[in-house]
């Protein structure tokens, strides 16, 4: 955690609105990006909002034992997984075919990244989470272990499973490395 963040967090713990805004400015893109990758663009704004509200409500409990980024990732991942679980209980939502972001008609994303969106969406949530945190958020294994409350060995094996299954899904969709 940078010294700047430490100052902001201390002020946030006192309910300082300016500090809350600064904390938001520092981290909202990261939170939003993670939400888009984990639950899709459609629900990402609502979830980002929920994450920050939860964060400001509970920031007084942040003790600094782990880094703030780890704590923020954990809050975000938990909100996203909870959302995914509640969504999976609604049969009318076609989870597995819903695109993560954009559509093939948008013309803005390459065909390959569209395939990755679709394949990621079909991956089991816990595998999608570990892949996204590693490949997009660039967390190390120790950061992944802390964020997901796993051992380093489990992180490695879960990443292996995520990549292997993702490769199968991408190949089924016509992707060639």
């Amino acid at each position: 955690m940078t010294e700047l963040s430490a100052d902001i967090i201390t002020a946030c713990q006192s309910g300082d609105r300016t500090a809350q805004r600064q904390l938001y400015e520092l981290h909202h893109r990261r939170v939003y990006r993670l939400c888009v990758r984990l639950v899709g663009e459609q629900d990402a704004s609502d979830l980002t909002q929920q994450v920050f509200l939860k964060l400001f409500r509970t920031i007084s409990q942040f003790s600094g034992r782990s880094s703030f980024e780890t704590w923020l990732h954990r809050v975000t991942v938990n909100e996203c997984l909870q959302h995914t679980r509640s969504r999976s209980h609604r049969p009318e939502v076609a989870l597995v075919t819903e695109p993560m972001a954009g559509t093939s008609e948008s013309g803005s994303a390459s065909e390959s990244t569209e395939l990755l969106h679709t394949a990621l969406d079909r991956l089991a949530p816990e595998l999608r989470t570990v892949f996204v945190l590693r490949e997009i958020e660039e967390l190390s294994y120790s950061e992944l272990a802390e964020t997901l409350d796993l051992s380093a060995g489990t992180v490695a094996s879960r990443l292996n499973r995520a990549r292997t299954q993702l490769k199968v899904l991408l190949t089924e969709l016509g992707w060639e490395p």
């Binding site: 940078t2 700047l4 309910g15 300082d16 609105r17 300016t18 809350q20 805004r21 600064q22 938001y24 400015e25 520092l26 909202h28 893109r29 939003y32 990006r33 888009v36 990758r37 663009e41 990402a44 704004s45 980002t48 909002q49 920050f52 509200l53 400001f56 409500r57 980024e69 972001a101 803005s108 994303a109 390459s110 390959s112 990244t113 990755l116 969106h117 892949f131 590693r134 490949e135 997009i136 660039e138 190390s140 294994y141 490695a156 094996s157 990443l159 292996n160 990549r163 292997t164 993702l166 490769k167 991408l170 490395p177």
Partner: protein, 285 residues
Amino acid sequence: MNCSEVRDLLSPLHDGELSAELRESVEQHLRECPACAAVRTSFGAMSLLARELPEPEPHAELWNQIEAELPRAHSRPVQWLLSAESFRELARRSRILTAAVTAVVLVLAGTTLVVYDQFHDRRDSNGHDEHLAVNFDQFLNEFPKSPEHAQELLHASYPSNLVDVDQAAFQVKYRPAVSNRLPKGYTLDSVHLVRMPCCLCVEALCTGPGGSRVAVLEHAIDQPVWFGDRPASECNCGGRKARMVKFDSHYAATWKSARRYLTVIGIRDEDELREWIQHLDRPEA
């Protein structure tokens, strides 16, 4: 090592998380086993694919929506204290208590005004810090005359640290773009971390052919406010849409790289901007 053992270690190998000894054993196997080597190659291809995912853009109203929810979460005790019903209840109980509560309210109101004056968010209607615009305008005006003095002005307004590229990378948790090869003839003079309202900004000063100076700032959020009211033009340089402003006989320009925003100050023209974009936008190491 057999294939099964190697497959378990392919992710740690790919992510640089294996010890040197294990890495050598796994790589030895990969040199002799096309099937395992193909799996490792596919891991690399998927990493590249993940990095190509476009950066999603949160909508501008998100903070307002969050802030609208915040008062309910933080002001319940105060609402109870000041609600008309509670106030009447207290008044019924005791006139002395009423006087005391009124005094507290007056003190709180006075304190709130003082605190608000000291700490309120000095932002315009677009959410930009007005003081930042003034400070950055001074920086742009001074830069052509003396880049070092311009830097001093900026650092006088915002806390900063002189660092090397590795220290900067450790602090901001990404490799600064100036760690890439700079345009031909340019060398890196200094790197500072500047605590600006938007983010912890990486600010680098470079010297080019003939002693020309260019500052490079890498920041998390677009900062159109830095250029104030100066007329801006848009150009499409090397696949990036950049915003350029003229100051003195030079230009400043800003564009969005894959993950952050980059601003260069002191460039001569669009051709030089194209060159900077090509160099700074290279994939992170």
